[in-house]
Symmetry: C4
Subunit: 215 residues, 4 copies
């Protein structure tokens, strides 16, 4: 295996879906938000992305069934405009090209199924409790729009790893998107930051009757 | 040399063979079990896999003959349903893609010669002596089956390196298999763990008159 | 994304342009000199080079707009014989192939638009203040020529990273060039070294009425 | 530049040449022996191999002329059966695939010009002065043959880096060869070990009137 392999379980019936991507990161915010959303819309697994840049071990579950680490894509019959990505792991920190490769693989796949807008969610470490959600976007106008909905523009910062790179690469492909960053005090697992990010995400996803306003 | 090269010494006469893979790992269990089995069935070397991800030195033997490190495949006239793999080395720990690459190379080769079932063998470090053999499988049913033969299901664990990755990659290709893990107290070379694993392996290999029950 | 991607904003009207390349390096001399020159000739951005060997984060600006790190190419209506490259970052120090790859990508692009001469600018650490500019070239004659204009030949040294490698790779493609090295005392940002290098660069760029003498 | 590039200065008139390869290594023995041989037969540079796995800097000479690091091939009108390789540098130690890649590139090139036998030369660290030359070969018979000429068979050892890997890779391509290892006390530059290795090399090169006996 020298490049990514995507196992498609079934072809979902999507309409210009928005991708919500939750990846392992700071405070585990991204993954937990994506899981909450998955449960909320009763989304089902429809594709798995395997890649040689993900860690080289397999996990066994409670039945002794072993599986490679992968990135999972979910969608729901209830909401044909949402596509959710949950990643098991990020590539090793020192392998920069791996980050570009896996983000390119994700974009190849989601743009083929019609995705034109991406929302990544991550934590951002702070030194005192804050309830604000920061937003950065692939255009000034996009960032401003979500600022008007209650987020604070994330100015002069860095967005590290897949949550940032996915957006940066989307932009040069002509795909729009935003990154929501929730301030965290706990680097491992920050429940409150997760809940704040989830609430804001639900607010913006519900803002247009057909989510059209997002694009 | 930028990818694996397989030198086939002769074409063996195999019938849906099971692959038993012993690789350098914890307690040296995998390699020692594979060597015992090779001797038991009088298996002969029929192919060598060379790869640019294996260490960059050559060894010389007692005659001054120098050879690259490689993975060796053995088979026997006595048992046309067994294929044994013994590996000289694993890739460097930090080169994750290398693990995916070499496992893919192994699977390409063995599936071309009809292999549909894989058994990897490794040690698993424990803190007190245990005689049990743990088993994980590419399906819940497979793991259960070997549990019924006396193994203990390896739940909620990790299988690191080639023994785990080979199984994980086999699974997404539709090849079944199990990993047998023997508890070790000695990380370098654990004879007793090796013997226990070998005994269990012989038991399951002998369980079907033609090994059919394995598949 | 597994290789460089160049986004061309518009096709500039160039005539055998000279490339002046300023990259992150010692004393930040290269980038600062390239920026001064860009302002001086009112050069405008016309192309961006994105590469999977550049760092794996995105930056956000004062408007929350996020962008990948990249190498930017500038040119000016005022001077159709100048092409300026400003790089955001160098690849990680331990990834040697990445340096060859990105230098090759730069040379592919600039040679396609007719560039036949390259000037790289960097700092060189010294232990006491010096006002000299060192020069190395892709031929003995080239180095000598700029020595006659006031530079000192950079003998028996090393030019590390993109400023050196770009020149070395240009040479084997039949493209000529020089590297200007300005002695620095401050490794992070040396203003005086930058000013000295910029003055010398302006001198040699202005030396031919049509810059022809450079080639 | 993403793979090796060989610049051929002229086509030499060779007859089944033997390659003598001197690479940076222990005690600098390999390079010094290859240089002595180059001077002795008045060999001239005829090809240069550039590779993205060699260090990412350029050197400048006493005239300010800058050049990439490379591997140089020499041959002589006086002896059409000798081909000499002198390498500027080895790839970084942790980049194992780089070693396989550059050795493959060397073998591709020399086998295309008819080379069927390879002699690599290196130092081997010892703790007390020894005048012996160790030999390892691509076959038991080859090693024995040079043992009869006065070398000692290098048993149960490792030959690290290009001197070993080049031989190991040659073997699986059906090219024969030996490695001469001269015991060194000085890891940086061992003159006496160099001289001993050179003397033995001259002896075996002179042993056949047309070097035929080597093959």
């Amino acid at each position: 295996m020298d490049k990514a392999y995507i196992k498609v379980l079934y072809q979902p019936n999507l309409e210009n879906p928005i991708l919500v991507a939750g990846l392992p990161g700071l405070g585990n915010v991204g993954i937990m938000v994506a899981r909450l959303l998955t449960e909320h819309i009763h989304a089902k697994l429809f594709a798995e992305l395997y890649s040689p840049v993900l860690p080289d071990y397999t996990r066994t579950d409670e039945n002794g069934l072993c599986s490679l680490l992968c990135f999972r894509f979910f969608t729901s019959e209830e909401n044909r405009r949402l596509l959710i990505l949950i990643g098991d792991a990020q590539p090793p920190a020192e392998d920069i090209s791996a980050y570009y490769e896996i983000c390119g693989d994700i974009l190849d796949f989601v743009s083929k199924i019609g995705c034109k807008f991406i929302i990544t969610v991550d934590g951002v470490p702070v030194t005192y409790a804050q309830r604000v959600i920061y937003v950065a976007g692939t255009s000034k106008r996009t960032a401003e729009k979500y600022a008007l909905m209650g987020a604070k523009v994330y100015t002069n910062g860095k967005i590290i790893g897949i949550p940032g790179l996915l957006l940066g690469l989307a932009k040069i492909r002509g795909i729009s998107g935003i990154c929501l960053l929730s301030p965290i005090l706990d680097l491992i697992s920050d429940q409150e930051a997760t809940f704040n990010a989830y609430k804001f995400l639900r607010k913006i996803l519900g803002s247009g009757s057909e989510n059209k306003s997002l694009q």
